[in-house]
């Protein structure tokens, strides 16, 4: 065990897999010599060689297309898309190809690729360095979508994703790379130091895809969150003084429906939180599932707290961001209504 922040934990997972499996290849813009703009691949080229971790041309569609082609021959490519905002040129490759190859070829071909990409805001990155595109991937059958919230989970989930035979979109909350940001942007910024989930074992281990984690047990209301919002939700729960159960989904496809339903059936109340815009966001799917499957267990309407339905605006970063204040208000509303 040692203490690692989230970027280092991801770097560690990649290093473990390069050492463990000669079929694992890492590539993307600036990931080779430079080690990635967020340093997630730092040192990997020096240690494992130019051909195991290398730079690509600036062409996201090309990165994913070639990753699929390599995957088809049995390699396990782990391409990086520098920002999730820039994954869109690769959208066709992900949706029409990676996601459907196994299905349409009658199982003859498949591509076990893991696409890593930093996502989310809170770094004053403006419209094109802040977005959270998970819902558009969740909507595509055939893709798995995984979002860690701690260094421990990041390493274990990433190894599980690389070993998974399906294509996985692995979204890394960039605001959590260096610390468990809780949304109180005006307070001192915490690092991962001393956080229990920053204790990361050496070597190979996995965290299974599709298993949510109850990060705070509670009885009064269920809060569903993932990525950065797990920490923001925890802060909001503390601020609101509510005995909430906070569930970190960890992967949204596959989705741990049992854990969600068990929690909501217990509490009878639910607040769903995500940073992405609200309309058509993943919260809508969660809300529909809960309504369909535990309508009679619900005491109050489900609340969603999310980014506004606008692009991510530079000057209004903290007005857009669904911070602890807005979540705490939703928690109070849910607790007061019956």
């Amino acid at each position: 065990m040692r203490e690692l922040n989230m970027v280092k934990a991801i770097n560690d997972a990649l290093g473990v897999m390069l050492a463990h499996d000669p079929n694992v290849l890492i590539f993307g813009e600036d990931v080779g010599y430079f080690g990635g703009v967020f340093r997630a691949t730092e040192g990997l080229q020096a240690k494992h060689g130019l051909k195991r971790c290398f730079d690509t041309p600036i062409a996201e569609g090309g990165i994913i297309a070639t990753a699929i082609g390599m995957g088809v021959q049995g390699l396990r490519p782990v391409p990086e898309i520098q920002f999730a905002d820039y994954i869109l040129p690769a959208f066709d490759q992900l949706v029409s190809e990676a996601a459907r190859l196994r299905y349409r070829s009658g199982g003859e071909f498949w591509a076990p690729i893991t696409v890593r990409s930093p996502y989310g805001g809170g770094i004053f990155g403006g419209q094109t360095h802040s977005q959270s595109p998970e819902a558009i991937f969740a909507h595509v059958t055939g893709l798995k979508t995984v979002i860690p919230s701690t260094p421990y989970d990041a390493k274990g989930l990433l190894i599980a994703a690389i070993e998974c035979d399906d294509p996985v979109i692995f979204l890394e909350p960039k605001r959590l790379y260096n610390g468990p940001f809780d949304g109180h942007h005006d307070r001192e910024i915490a690092s991962w130091a001393g956080h229990p989930a920053a204790q990361v074992p050496e070597g190979h281990y996995t965290v299974p895809l599709g298993k949510a984690a109850i990060v705070r047990p509670g009885e009064a209301v269920t809060v569903l969150a993932y990525g950065t919002m797990v920490h923001v939700a925890l802060a909001a729960v503390a601020d609101a003084g509510v005995d909430a159960e906070v569930v970190d989904l960890r992967s949204i496809v596959p989705l741990d429906i049992e854990t969600i339903l068990a929690s909501v059936n217990k509490t009878g109340r639910c607040v769903i939180v995500h940073e992405a815009s609200r309309f058509g966001g993943f919260g809508g799917e969660l809300s529909a599932l809960i309504q369909e499957r535990c309508f009679y267990g619900l005491e109050t309407p489900i609340e969603r707290v999310a980014g506004w339905d606008t692009p991510y605006p530079h000057a209004f970063e903290w007005d857009y961001f669904p911070g602890p204040g807005r979540i705490a208000a939703a928690l109070r509303r849910v607790m007061e209504s019956n």
Binding site: G32, I58, G125, G126, Q127, W308, T310, P313, H314, A315
Partner: protein
């Protein structure tokens, strides 16, 4: 079969990384004045040699020589010099403002100022440029108000883009400067479409698009070239080859064995390769391509060969991926110094006037920054919160109206 050598996986690497000897000084630089200047209305079939040449006008002594000399008036040369100096001073000042925490991000164009400046002055007010973040000298050459620019960079209450966009990702329609975005390459095709609209409407306005050399790898670049060639669009398609994307070198964009200008051949359009640090060569090539576009001969691809002297942005330290001394050893020199030397050599400039100009520019930049600071730096001042919900659609729908009221920035 067993006699065949095993397949080798090739991954390009730059000539030198930090700690290695830079070979950049050894880059072969053809002499100025040697490249032929065919008639601008020639068939592209007769122009296939040009992408492998390097069009240069200013020689080592600052003399303008050869057929590409655009014979600009001294007044125009001084205008160009001023625009470049202003760009540099502005960049330095605002880069520092970022270091002082006054904004979130900045990008300089040090060493590449000639490109935007010369092209901005070479094209006409009705033309439209589809910029990258690296050609702010286009705006400085056209006198875009400095204080508005700083307000944008501070995302403050007077920000002309209403706090919605990252610093320097400007939009300035009245200055022939299309809206910038963080996505690379996505506007290259817009320039082609805009040029097609001019042709369709039979109006005299052409388009000019920029792409970094790294960005030429994107599909958008190649699709734009195809459309431009197919519809013979009146557009000038530029590639600013400053040798480095972020940490990846030009060879990683596919030119280990060719040039960016030579991409044109496959699309059936002319390609020019031009000394991007030579204000006169940039002007001449642009004039040639503009004449061609206005003469219904369609698109031209121009590669500007230059060097990115500063880091990619405020987020990177270039000494981590390239030899520190590379910038100084860049064989095509500094575009500002070269134009200054030329003006002096023709007796139209001197050190005294130069110092006076520098002082004037310094005062202009200072006063703009001071004025913008009085409004507020990032986070200290911002446009009204209601602006967050404006411009999503022409008219906000119920969601936006409700959300605006929920946040307390307007009535439902």
């Amino acid at each position: 079969m067993s006699n065949r050598p095993p397949l080798e996986f090739h991954v390009p690497e730059p000539p030198a990384r930090p700690g290695q000897l830079s070979e950049i000084a050894g880059t072969v630089v053809p002499e100025a004045g040697l490249v032929r200047r065919p008639d601008a209305l020639s068939s592209s079939v007769d122009l296939r040699d040009l992408p492998f040449e390097l069009i240069r006008v200013l020689d080592d002594d600052g003399q303008a020589i050869g057929p590409w000399d655009p014979r600009l008036s001294p007044e125009r040369l001084r205008q160009g010099l001023k625009a470049m100096l202003l760009t540099r001073a502005f960049d330095d000042r605002l880069f520092r403002a970022h270091r002082q925490g006054k904004t979130s991000f900045y990008m300089k164009s040090t060493g590449e100022e000639a490109i935007g400046a010369a092209q901005s002055l070479a094209l006409e007010p009705q033309d439209m440029c589809f910029p990258t973040y690296r050609v702010m000298s286009w705006l400085h050459a056209r006198g875009y108000p400095l204080v508005d620019m700083v307000n944008q960079i501070f995302s403050n209450e007077r920000d002309p883009l209403r706090g919605r966009q990252l610093p320097i990702l400007f939009s300035a329609r009245d200055y022939g400067f299309y809206s910038l975005s963080g996505n690379l390459g996505t506007r290259y095709g817009h320039a082609v479409g805009w040029a097609m609209a001019s042709a369709y409407r039979q109006i005299d306005s052409i388009a000019l698009a920029y792409s970094g050399e790294g960005t030429t790898a994107e599909g958008d670049f190649h699709e734009a070239l195809t459309f431009a060639a197919v519809y013979r669009a009146p557009v000038i398609l530029c590639v600013t080859n400053n040798q480095w994307a972020i940490s990846s070198f030009a060879g990683l964009a596919g030119t280990e064995n060719t040039t960016f200008a030579a991409r044109a051949i496959g699309y059936g359009m002319p390609g020019l390769r031009v000394d991007g640090n030579d204000f006169l060569a940039v002007t001449a090539a642009t004039q040639w391509a503009a004449e061609r576009a206005r003469g219904n001969m369609g698109p031209t691809l121009i590669e500007f060969y230059t060097y990115r002297v500063a880091g990619h942005s405020t987020s990177d330290d270039p000494t981590r991926y390239r030899p520190r001394e590379e910038a100084e050893q860049w064989p095509l020199g500094d575009p500002v110094a070269r134009l200054q030397q030329h003006l002096i050599s023709i007796g139209e400039w001197d050190d005294e006037r130069h110092s006076a100009l520098l002082a004037e520019i310094d005062a202009q930049v200072r006063s703009a920054v001071r004025e913008a600071e009085a409004v507020g730096t990032l986070g200290k001042s911002k446009p009204p919160l209601s602006e967050m919900f404006e411009g999503v659609f022409a008219e906000p729908d119920w969601r936006l109206i409700e959300q605006r009221s929920e946040i307390g920035a307007g009535n439902a």
